[in-house]
Amino acid sequence: MAELEAVIGLEIHVQLATRTKMFCGCELSFGDEPNVHTCPICLAHPGVLPVPNEEAIRFALKIGMALGCEIAPRSIFHRKNYFYPDNPKAYQISQYDVPICGEGKLGDIRITRAHLEEDAAKTVHVGSSGRIAGSSASLVDFNRAGTPLVEIVTEPDLRGAAEAAEWARLLRETVRQLGVSDVNMEEGSLRVDANVSVRPAGSTELGTKTELKNMNSFRFLQRGIEAELERQRDIIGAGGTVEQETLHFDPTSGDLTSLRSKEEAHDYRYFPEPDLVAIAPTETMLEEARASLPELPAERMARYESELGLDEAQARLLAGDPEGAEYFEAVVAAVGDAAGPRVVANWVTGDLTAALRASDDAERPEAQPLADLIAAVVAKQVSHAGGKQVLAILVADRDADVAEVIEREGLAQMGGDDGELAGIVAAAIEGDPAAAEQIRSGNGKAIGAIVGVVMRETKGRADGGEVNRLIREQLGL
């Protein structure tokens, strides 16, 4: 039997960080006392009407543009009808066939649509499990009811659990950089559901999909998808067929339990919301949204790879951290021709990150001192190891003078000319004849022991390459 390929699409709910709810003036909140941010509108009293939140529309436009979506000149709201206590009107105002944002793309993954809707209230089931089954009562907190959401739906373009989690991270970073959401998975301001199916590799048809819910971290998202892919492969491997259903992933046990089957699926009886008029963004609104877009991770990553020659991992790391990326670019500018962007990237993502982690008080140095340091290392005025020692001082004293620090700390690199280093190397060879013999007899790895002694003796002031050269020279190799 052909290998079964994973086919995954994601549905992402992003809670917008607007000041007020989607259709009323209640403030958004998280963690407040229950039912304090409510009014007749979000409690669905008789006679109330929704009025759309303009800020939410602006945020949705920004998300749509960041995902390269086509923006609908006129989009409309629909009612999605279903009974549940967390849904006070017994319909959710959402968008259906004409969403505000149409087709787009983020990275290699196609976006089907992104639309505006309102969040449900929160139900708390009283009882041990925290789930409705077996609970003695359910309490409803309407603080969240009516919070603006943008739902982003992808095409089934993802081919693995890790890829799905990786792409979801990129999406979160993109939305975070727009400043339109807290995108916190644990608090539920970012919620990712996955549609998972498998098919014989090479096939273009789609298998029966299941929908996975409740994965409140990227790790759980990946684990949930992995578990579901395994389940589906097992079923098909045993000659069975996958049933269309909605599954709940329990991250503690790793279990998947069925929430509802296809037969139990709701008929939402969508119809155009008669209480609202169409959303028709003005040219000014579109222009403002466009102008407010920062350079987003995917674009920045592409630019770092193509223009600065960074490798993919470095580019992704920097692009995912806009502040770090700005800093990186400032150091690249300050260092000028003295070092290439890849070298700068190595310092910023590697040694600097490590130095910052080493102490709570550590801060990024100014761009110029770091640029000076990188230039000194490249020019072999200071060894890489010595450079790290200088950096440890720079993160505590952000605008220290690099040349002065090198001088003060005696870190100026030992050259091969003055004989001092050659002497230390000779002593080290003498101190470990066994290693010297191994090196002579062709065991290149044995050189490390002698290099280590030299580095210790020189307190890192020696250049590793030069030490290697001297050892081999003195051993007559």
Binding site: L43, H45, G47, V48, L49, N81, D275, L276
Partner: protein
């Protein structure tokens, strides 16, 4: 001096403003009249509090919670302004409008005991203009009905003949005005719910353009059709109330208001105006007495200089069918919030959730409401949407286009308001279809969203009754293009003057105590 309650709203407001009559005495006269309601027109009435302010406690009700508190939606209770075009005028409010702290049921048992935490914009506009809330009027449950027999609180009686219905759904409002229990009333019209009861009760009823008056606080039946409007003794009062209530409301995205506002009408002739009579009217099912009054009114229009032309509304005959898909579809969604969870009545709370929903809705919704929820749910169901809701929306568009074409040729479209005079209580309750056909002439304008006014045009004996049977009022409907209310009111005012209905009825009018109980 004539009775205070004989004055129209415009007359009374002018006399109060001029100091000729006391607002207190005027208000007391109406409160006394409302308290003497024998028609079941009111579900709640204000009592006099002694300080020129009504007592909001109502009959046998305890004081509302939070009374006197100021809220983002206005004061509780809605306090009348000291001055304004309606200063001192009490107005009856259909129980479909929310009134903070005052019981509001929309005629349904499911909202029995419900006191809204906010007041409807239309009511706030009236009180801001100085009006007082006189009482809340009975109605068909959630405005679904044409006879007021679908009220959860018993039917309203027609003041002209208490064995007959007042029409619906604004039957309590119409009966209150016609029966001398209120100087004017608010109603709502979804497919004829202002115009038809106005017609059956011999008063004026105006359904403005959709969007002219805010729907905020108007309990929704069919959101794309519902519109608030006045029921009054004459066209001038209708203009006065419309002028006060119209306007864009930031709380209603679909409201737009009427550009330039509304002035009291003064026109007394119809010269240069063209009135279109639908060609299809000839074959419409219509009582002979109603047809005779319609034809006499057309002749009167010509005498006033108006020109009569034939127009075509070829799709209007499908209006009722489209209406009875669209309105129930929207209603099925609008009424889903009455689930027993947050407010109103709850039944069967001991079992599980679904059981509670079902028990609550089964017990407290009436038969007609249930019928329409089922119709609407079906029409929106997956697989049926295109055949029903989608198709009905197409018919609706066609009807709008028909009116658009007609208004290219004429200024107004005229029809009878209702195919018959008031019918007997219980006469049509067993046959929903014949009940629905009451709205045959009013539904097309609702679907098109255009304004239409019903004015009393004469009297006719019920079909099949003897020639000397007591005669009942017949309404005449004039429809105009969207937002052409001023022009509509001017024409209606001119015609009203020429018809002289109130003068012709004289002391036989129920508002003069002429009920044939």
């Amino acid at each position: 001096m004539a009775e205070l309650t004989d004055l129209t709203v415009a007359e009374a407001a002018a006399k109060i403003a001029a100091g000729e009559i006391s607002a207190d005495e005027y208000g007391d006269a109406w409160r006394a009249a409302a308290a003497a309601d024998e028609l079941n027109a009111y579900l709640w009435t204000a009592e006099h509090g002694g300080e020129g302010e009504p007592d909001w406690t109502g009959a046998g009700e305890s004081a509302p919670e939070g009374e006197g508190e100021s809220t983002p939606y206005g004061a509780n209770p809605p306090a009348p302004a000291d001055s304004g075009p309606l200063a001192g005028v009490p107005i009856a409010i259909k129980d479909i409008f929310t009134t903070q702290g005052i019981p509001t049921t929309a005629g349904s048992r499911i909202l029995e005991g419900y006191r809204p935490p906010y007041t409807a914009t239309a009511v706030n506009k009236l009180t801001a203009a100085g009006a007082l809330v006189l009482g809340k009027t009975n109605m068909d449950e959630f405005a679904m009905g044409s006879s007021n027999e679908n009220s959860g609180y018993g039917p309203v009686l027609n003041p002209w003949d208490r064995g007959r219905v007042p029409g619906g759904s604004s039957g309590g409002s119409a009966a209150a005005v016609a029966g001398g229990l209120a100087p004017a009333a608010l109603g709502t019209d979804t497919g004829g719910s202002i115009r038809q009861p106005a017609s059956l009760c011999g008063i004026v009823g105006l359904k403005p353009t959709y969007g002219a008056i805010s729907r905020f606080g108007m309990i929704a039946f069919a959101s794309s059709l519902d519109q608030c409007g006045p029921l009054t003794r004459d066209v001038t009062d209708a203009a006065l109330l419309l002028g006060v209530m119209q306007g864009k409301d930031p709380r209603d995205s679909t409201s737009v208001g009427i550009e330039g506002g509304i002035e009291l009408p003064s026109r007394e002739d119809l010269a240069g105006l063209r009135f279109g009579v639908p060609r299809e009217l000839g074959e419409a099912a219509l009582d002979p007495g109603v047809r005779a009054v319609f034809e006499a009114t057309v002749a009167r229009i010509e005498e006033l200089g108006g020109e009569i032309a034939e127009i075509a509304l070829p799709n209007a005959e499908h209006g009722i069918s489209a209406y009875y898909v669209i309105a129930p579809a929207e209603a099925s969604s609008n009424l889903a919030r009455y689930d027993g969870v947050r407010y109103g009545k709850r039944a069967g709370g001991d079992g599980d959730l679904i059981e509670m929903y079902e028990a609550t809705r089964s017990e407290y919704f009436g038969a007609e409401v249930k019928r329409r929820i089922m119709l609407g749910t079906y029409a929106l169901s997956s697989g049926y949407y295109d055949a029903y809701y989608g198709q009905a929306q197409k018919v609706r568009t066609r009807i709008s286009q028909d009116f658009g074409a007609a208004f290219g040729e004429v200024d107004f479209v005229i029809t009878p308001t209702s195919p018959s005079v008031a019918f007997g209580l219980g006469e049509k309750t067993a046959d929903p279809m014949s009940m629905y056909l009451n709205d045959f002439f009013t539904v097309p304008m609702s679907l098109a969203g255009i304004p239409a006014i019903a004015i009393p045009a004469g009297l006719a004996a019920p079909e099949g009754a003897g020639a000397d049977a007591p005669k009942l009022p017949v309404g005449f409907q004039i429809a105009a293009p969207a937002f052409a209310e001023q022009k509509l009111l001017e024409a209606a005012h001119a015609l009203e003057g020429a018809l002289g209905f109130a003068a012709a009825v004289g002391d036989d009018a129920p508002w003069k105590g002429g009920s044939r109980g």
